[in-house]
Amino acid sequence: MATIGIGPLATGAHVLYSCSCKELGELERMYFCRHCLKLRCIDCVSNEVESFFCPTCLESMPSAEARQKRNRCSNCLECPLCTNTLSVIATATDEPATLDNDKEPEIEQKNDTDSKENHPDKEDSEDKLYYLSCGFCRWTSRDIGLPDQQQSSGKWPEVEFQNANKVNELIEYYRGVEQLERAEKDIKIHKRRRSTYMSIGTGKISSFQRRSMHSRTSNASAISLGSFQIATGQKPKDAGVSQSTEDPKRTSEDILEVGSEQITGLMQRLCFPSCQPSKVKDLMPIRKHLLAKKSQRCKILIGMYFINRQYTPRVIITQVPDLLFNQENKVTLTIINPLDASVKFILSPLTLNEDKPVPFPQTAEIIPPEKELILSAKDDSAEFDYSETAASTFNDDPRIVLARRANRLSIYCRIIPKKAFGHVKCSVVLKYDGKSIKKGDAEASWIEHHVHLNLGIVSTKHKQT
């Protein structure tokens, strides 16, 4: 019997599932609601962050700690050049620091000078020292002159933001302005303020500007910018965090001289939003960003049930011959059962409804084997069982079934392309019994999904036949 492939086909053939909201998506992007017994796309699902974990070391982190550490893992570090995970390398202290000299000619010169600075004679030569190294691009923490650490989980320095103080000053300044504003409102000055508004967009120059042309003492001005109102009693003062200059800086000579390898690219800079270093030597190891574990709930049903993905048999396209226009072509589909119970299923053509056009325009007719078939339960231990005895117990019809292994079943479908060019697209209804999903329901409730197949481009060979 033929083997069952599961990899994607090179032809670009792919399968989409329908959400009840008419949106289409790959099964990976769909969720199954156990209560509606329907597939839900990302739009019909509400997400909630549940917990945090590091994708590299898989360690989970409580939310308070994650917030404090700005969603970054305290153990794992990434290469600032290529974002590959860095490994910690142990060395004896007397080992020369420039290991990669022969491989990295650009960094070599720097390394020579750096290593002399950072590796003066070490007293306790017994101890091991640690540095960071990227196995992919060969960047090391020594390239940027970081001293080696005494512990493998060393406290590697992080990029510091120089101007954080100034930002805090700004925030204080605007809090002050806001307080002033509120005080002014509360006091309610007797004489009505000569409040003037500049109307934006009418092409008028307001009295505010006129007055400021004659005298600079505008005692009160409230300027509206839509929902923005900055009202101040006095002439507004600046926060004083920035100074203007008549002589802005010219490009510094060190930028004009260096080669492109010593200047960072845009994505490398953006990994450090605060300072965005322009020189490679200023890059620091990046702390690995955490991922969130999310819970998904169905938006359609009031009551918000948690939902899961593991309930829908997956249909994949495993073998496609040259698809000849207006002829029957034998295509192999494989259906995989994700449930730990055996499931009856049947494929049937999707009957087109004139009122509700299919969101997936059909260019071919599909003739599935309209026969009830059985998918075995998913059994992780059976994955490696290569005996094909199962086939005989199920008494599969070789005209329909190509192969059966564990929870997988490969079947033939006949496809008749109805368009002489472009993608061959058709849809089927996948009906399966939901007994094992909806327990307690005595009647075998059938679950229906619309499955859309794109089998790739129709063959041009039909002209010769």
Binding site: G12, S46, L170, T196, K204, R210, S242, I263, A292
Partner: protein, 432 residues
Amino acid sequence: MSLLDNIVLGSEKVPVVLDIGAAYTKCGFAGESCPRHILPSSVVTCVDGKEKVVKFIDYAGNSQELVKLLKRFIHNIFFKYLLVNPKDRRMVIVESVLCPNTFKNSLAKVIFQHFEIQSAMFAPGHLMGLYSLGLTTAMIVDCGYSEAIVLPFYETASLFNCCQVSNLAGKVINSHLEKLLLLYASITYGNETKPFAAERGPLTEDILEEIKVKACVSGHNPNYEDNASESTIKPLPAKPMKFHLGPSKVLTIPGEVRDKMLDAVFKPDCNDISLASMIIDCLLMCPIDIRKDLAASICVTGGCAAIPGFNWRLKEELTVLANSPRYKDELCVKTFKFYETVVHPNYTNWLGGSICGILENLPDRSISRETFLKAEYVPDWTHSRKRLRSVAQAIMKKVSGEKTPSLASVVSKIMTSSAKAKLPKVAINDDS
């Protein structure tokens, strides 16, 4: 989790600050000094089984498609980058002063209907730029990827009528760079060197952007040759730069090309306007006695301002232009002064939003979910913005038949003429 939230931060959730730029999006939390992440303003979607990067800027008009893309994008912002729940959270959305209404309303629909946020403050980018400097009077020149917009503020009032708009920004520099490479660059395979024009490998926008980021400088004085008497600063030569385009394929960019890149915005080929002339035209539209103050507080924000020596070049250009016969008598401004941004210039506007996000009056400045769901649109903070857009678009359509329709000159001219026409009509609305 909710219990811990309460212990750490009180019951109030920290507002999320989002600045969706034409090329890059800045996202983070209010009160923080820098965004948590800066990421491309695009999403990866699946078209006919193939992955494709889709930029929002290409979908500005198609609101249905835009809503779909934005849903994915905002989902990633919350669940992949910021790792917080959007529900019942306040947001500050920093937007371009010329942000199309379709974009704004599509975004509002996504955040209010789909993500159920509590409220959103739509903050104009230039005003946020002003906030990030702690100034009340400044000429904010926002030079990002697709547009350069000059908007002056005088004692916190935005002089919107004097606003100047052009496309003299990052994208124009990239296409100018491509032209320069075809003229001057060479390509080397092993021992063989050819002019780049002969090879003409496909240079994507991403590669051009990368070359610009690494190579673009402004060390050379552009007016040195033309006006040797007026300017005495000698050019600083930049070294040629090499880029690996593939295995054993090296692109060499001569030093002068590195300098000439900025000509795209300072000396455009087919334009009589430049970034410098936009600033001067803007000053000319302002009342004469505030011009000096504005000229003494120019601040360039946006990604282009990060190019080394950008302000220096701008100052040189402004000085020459201000003394030219075209402007000399009219302008009455001799000196130009520049503010350096407090933070990296590509997130100044975000920083302004971050500051607004922790002020107590945030709810008053925001539109709530209830209000939006009733009205189904976000009120525009100025009508003139809409008008400006439509005028610009109408003219663009007219001109597009002709060769090289330059948005820059067109928009600028329209605005100059319409504003000049209106200037004499001074209305007094002093209410006492």
